[in-house]
């Protein structure tokens, strides 16, 4: 079981095609780290709430936002760890991109009308959104490759 999981994981030596070898640590290190931090954000959002979102929505919507964020981040990590579950990762990243876009919008609305205090964190939210969208673009390209190779 463990051996099969290892063979299916992104960290197995055969998991990265030769033409992607130079960038192997994007998938093996960077993306898992990003997802771990997104899970971290989701857990803390569930415990403490998200002040910027709380301003705009009632409690249950705000709580749902937090739990959905944490769940999507966990699924994204599972998807990046096991490339065959790329569709799980794609779905999770679509959800994350929506939630991050909302969060970025909330921070912008709280920052831009006057000189607010959320400028820095809104920039970080923008970085996270950029990474998630970039990953979706990669997943789309890999989907196209699978199709052209007749896997799907």
């Amino acid at each position: 079981m463990i051996r099969r999981l290892w063979a299916a994981s992104i960290w197995h030596p055969d998991a990265i095609p030769l033409d992607e070898w130079k960038y192997r640590n994007l998938k093996r290190v960077l993306l898992p780290i990003v997802d771990v931090f997104l899970i971290w954000c989701g857990i803390w959002a569930g415990i403490q709430g998200i002040p910027a979102i709380d301003v705009f929505f009632v409690d249950w919507v705000s709580d749902s936002f937090s739990y959905l964020f944490a769940a999507a981040a966990v699924l994204a990590l599972i998807g990046v760890a096991f490339p065959r579950l790329w569709w799980v990762e794609a779905g999770a990243n679509i959800v994350l991109s929506g939630l991050l876009a909302s969060y970025l919008g909330a921070l912008m609305l709280l920052t831009l009308p006057s000189i607010g205090s959320r400028g820095f964190v809104s920039g970080l939210a923008g970085v996270a959104l950029g990474v998630v969208i970039w990953r979706l673009s990669l997943l789309g390209g890999e989907w196209a490759e699978r199709r052209s190779e007749g896997d799907e």
Partner: protein, 110 residues
């Protein structure tokens, strides 16, 4: 906070979902390897071109040499076998006149 704020924030989330889904779909529909394959084909063709030209030249020369040897064999008396190295005969078997093959080490009448 005004309700329009909630609408904007919710709308941005919906926009994010729709945009990212469209991105995934459009990238997935495209042929991402087409340009790479075209580039590889061009490189391979350029590199093979010189080698194939040389190969064609060598085949032309080898054909001419085979015809010259065949003509010589026809103009020599019957029973004449040139002194040839067996290793060379093994390599050039298709090029040598058939009557010279199978007599490795044969000597000419004189």
């Amino acid at each position: 906070m005004e309700p329009w704020g909630s609408i904007i924030v919710g709308g941005l989330g919906l926009t994010g979902v729709i945009t990212s889904s469209a991105l995934l779909f459009l990238r997935g529909r495209g042929d991402s390897k087409q340009k790479l394959n075209e580039y590889i084909d061009q490189r391979v063709e350029a590199q093979l071109k010189g080698a194939l030209t040389e190969l064609d030249g060598a085949k032309t020369k080898l054909g001419a040499a085979a015809r010259v040897l065949l003509a010589i064999s026809r103009q020599t008396p019957a029973g004449f076998y040139p002194r040839l190295s067996p290793e060379d005969v093994a390599i050039l078997e298709d090029t040598l006149p058939p009557q010279w093959v199978g007599e490795p080490g044969s000597v000419s009448p004189d």
